[in-house]
C-alpha cells in the first residue's frame, strides 16, 4: 500500500511578529520616525525553524505553554499567516476553526449567519442550500434559528459555529481550543463527528490545554516550546515528557515576549 497523501509540509518555518508588535500606528508617526532614522524593529519570533509533515488521516495534538506558538502554528497551516521564513504547504480542503463563529453578524438570524459563515469558509450558496437542514439539526437550536444571534448565549453561538464549520467533511480539520464549548450532550456530538471525520480520512490538528482531549482524540502529539519543536511523536510519550517538564526551566531566551 502506498503512503497516505501528504496534507501539511512545513520546512524550517519561522514567523516573526516584529511588524505587529513594533507597529507605528500612523503615517505621521512613521514619517517622524523615519526622519529621525529611528525606525528600528524588535523581532519577536513566535515560531522558529519548525519542520514537520502531516499525512492524510493523522490526528495531531499540539501542546505547549501559553505563548509557545501553538495558535500561530495553526494559523500558518490554515494559510491565515504567511511564514517570515521557510516554506509552508497545505494540501486539501480546510476547515479551520480558530475561533467559533468568526464573522458572525449579531444582527442577523442564526439561519442567515449559517449562510454568511459558510460563504466565508468558501462554500457556494448552492452547496449551503443542500446542507442547510443538516446544519440546523446538528446545532440543536430549534426555533432559535430564526432569531437574531445577539439573543444567543455564548454556548449557542459556539454550537452554531461548530455546526457550520463541520458540515462538510474536510481534508484537514483545525481546532484551536474549541472543543470545550456547549453542554455535555453537544460535546459528545462533536466528538462523534470527529470520529466520523477520522473514519473518512480527515486529518485533524488540535490545540488544547485539556490533556485529556488530546489523549482521547490524537495519535500523535507535537510539543512546542518558545516557538521551537521540542518533541514530536506518539501522544502518550510526548505527553509524559511534557508533564515532567513542568519542573525543568523553560527553554526560552531572555527577553522573549509571550505570544499567543
Amino acid at each position: 500500500m502506498s503512503e497516505p497523501e501528504l496534507r501539511v509540509r512545513l520546512e524550517e518555518v519561522s514567523l516573526s511578529y516584529r511588524l505587529a508588535k513594533q507597529r507605528i500606528p500612523s503615517l505621521k508617526e512613521y514619517a517622524i520616525h523615519w526622519m529621525r532614522g529611528a525606525l528600528s524593529y524588535e523581532e519577536l519570533w513566535a515560531l522558529r525553524e519548525v519542520s514537520l509533515t502531516i499525512r492524510q488521516g493523522e490526528r495531531v495534538g499540539i501542546v505547549g505553554r501559553n505563548g509557545a506558538g501553538k495558535s500561530t502554528l495553526l494559523k500558518v497551516i490554515s494559510r491565515v499567516l504567511k511564514p517570515s521564513r521557510g516554506k509552508a504547504e497545505t494540501c486539501g480542503r480546510l476547515a479551520p476553526i480558530l475561533e467559533l463563529g468568526t464573522g458572525f453578524d449579531f444582527e442577523l438570524t442564526g439561519l442567515e449567519n449559517i449562510y454568511l459563515n459558510a460563504l466565508l469558509l468558501g462554500r457556494t450558496r448552492r452547496e449551503i442550500d443542500e446542507r442547510i437542514e443538516g446544519i440546523v439539526e446538528f446545532s440543536g437550536l430549534g426555533d432559535f434559528i430564526r432569531t437574531p444571534i445577539r439573543n444567543y448565549s455564548s454556548g449557542m453561538q459556539a454550537r452554531l459555529g461548530f455546526s457550520v464549520a463541520t458540515a462538510w467533511t474536510p481534508d484537514i480539520l483545525i481546532l484551536d481550543e474549541v472543543l470545550a464549548v456547549g453542554d455535555s450532550a453537544f460535546i459528545a456530538k462533536c466528538h462523534r463527528r470527529l470520529r466520523e471525520f477520522h473514519a473518512a480520512g480527515t486529518t485533524v490538528l488540535m490545540v488544547s490545554h485539556v490533556v485529556k482531549a488530546i489523549e482521547d482524540n490524537c495519535d500523535r502529539c507535537i510539543w512546542l516550546d518558545a516557538g521551537r519543536l521540542r518533541a514530536d511523536g506518539p501522544t502518550r510519550e510526548v505527553l509524559d515528557r511534557y508533564a515532567h517538564a513542568g519542573t525543568e526551566p523553560a527553554q526560552r531566551p531572555a527577553g522573549q515576549l509571550h505570544l499567543g
Binding site: R23, S26, K75, L98
Partner: protein
C-alpha cells in the same frame, strides 16, 4: 482564480451592505436619491447668485451638468473610503479565516455601483422635467459606468491596505479627495479654468473618467474614440497598479490588524 470560488460571498456582502443602508433607516433609499439632488440645488444657487458667474461661463442646463458630476464623484469617493474601511472593519476575521482579502474592497465597490444605479433615477427624472433632449447616447452609459468602476476598484485596492498599515490614512485620503474634488471639473466647466492652470485639468486622470460618464448624459454624445481609449487605458492601469499593490501587501495585512 480564488475570487471566483468566493463569488457568492461577494454577493452576500453586497446584499448585506445594501440592507444596512436601505432597511435600517426608512429614508435610506430615498436619501441615496435625494442627497445628490439637494447638493445640486445648493451648488446651482451658489453659482448663479453668490458668485454671479457670467452667464457665458455657466453651462446651459447647469443642473444636469452638476448632478451628473456629483453622481460620479459620490460613487468614486464613497467607494474608496468604504473599501479602506472594509479591510479594517473585518480585521478579526482576517486573522482567523483564510478568506481572499480582495472580496472586501470588491464588494464595497459593487454596492457603490448599485447605489449609483439607484441615484441615476432622479437624474433621468430631471432630464425629462427640464426637457433635456434624450439622446441615444444614454445607452452608452453602462459602458461608461463599467470604466468608472474599474478605475474606482483600482484606487480602492491600492488604498485599502494602506489604511490597514496606517490608521490616519483614511483621514488623509479624505482631505485629498476634497482637494481632488476641486481640481476635477465636477461642479464647474473646464473652460472657466484660467489658461495657465489648464494643465491640471488636462492631466487629471479622473477628469477623463468623469467626462466619459458625463458626456453621454449632458452633451448627448458618445465620447470620441481617442478620448474613450485614453480613459480605458487609465482605468486598466489603475486596476493593474491597485491589484499589484494589493497582492504584494496582502500577506502582511493580518499582521497589522
Amino acid at each position: 482564480m480564488e475570487l471566483f470560488q468566493y463569488r457568492d460571498l461577494v454577493g452576500a456582502l453586497v446584499a448585506r451592505d445594501l440592507k444596512v443602508r436601505y432597511r435600517r433607516s426608512a429614508i435610506g433609499f430615498v436619501w441615496t436619491m435625494l442627497q445628490p439632488l439637494l447638493m445640486m440645488l445648493v451648488l446651482r444657487t451658489v453659482f448663479s447668485t453668490l458668485f454671479q458667474a457670467k452667464s457665458a461661463e455657466v453651462p446651459q442646463n447647469y443642473a444636469i451638468f452638476v448632478l451628473a458630476g456629483i453622481l460620479f464623484w459620490n460613487f468614486f469617493s464613497q467607494s474608496i473610503v468604504a473599501s479602506m474601511n472594509s479591510l479594517r472593519g473585518n480585521a478579526l476575521l482576517l486573522q482567523k479565516l483564510p478568506v481572499p482579502k480582495a472580496v472586501f474592497p470588491l464588494s464595497t465597490v459593487l454596492s457603490g455601483l448599485v447605489n449609483l444605479v439607484f441615484a441615476l433615477l432622479p437624474l433621468f427624472g430631471l432630464l425629462i422635467v427640464t426637457h433635456h433632449p434624450l439622446h441615444l447616447s444614454l445607452l452608452f452609459l453602462p459602458v461608461a459606468i463599467f470604466i468608472a468602476a474599474l478605475f474606482t476598484l483600482g484606487a480602492g485596492l491600492l488604498l485599502s491596505p494602506l489604511a490597514v498599515f496606517f490608521s490616519d490614512v483614511v483621514e488623509l485620503i479624505g482631505v485629498l479627495l476634497t482637494l481632488l474634488f476641486y481640481l476635477t471639473p465636477v461642479i464647474y466647466p473646464k473652460d472657466i479654468v484660467p489658461e495657465n492652470l489648464r494643465w491640471i485639468v488636462r492631466f487629471n486622470p479622473i477628469r477623463s473618467i468623469l467626462e466619459v460618464f458625463r458626456d453621454p448624459i449632458y452633451q448627448g454624445e458618445i465620447p470620441p474614440l481617442s478620448h474613450l481609449t485614453v480613459s480605458i487605458v487609465i482605468a486598466l492601469l489603475a486596476l493593474a497598479v491597485g491589484s499589484w499593490v494589493f497582492h504584494k501587501s496582502s500577506d502582511r495585512i493580518p499582521f497589522y490588524i
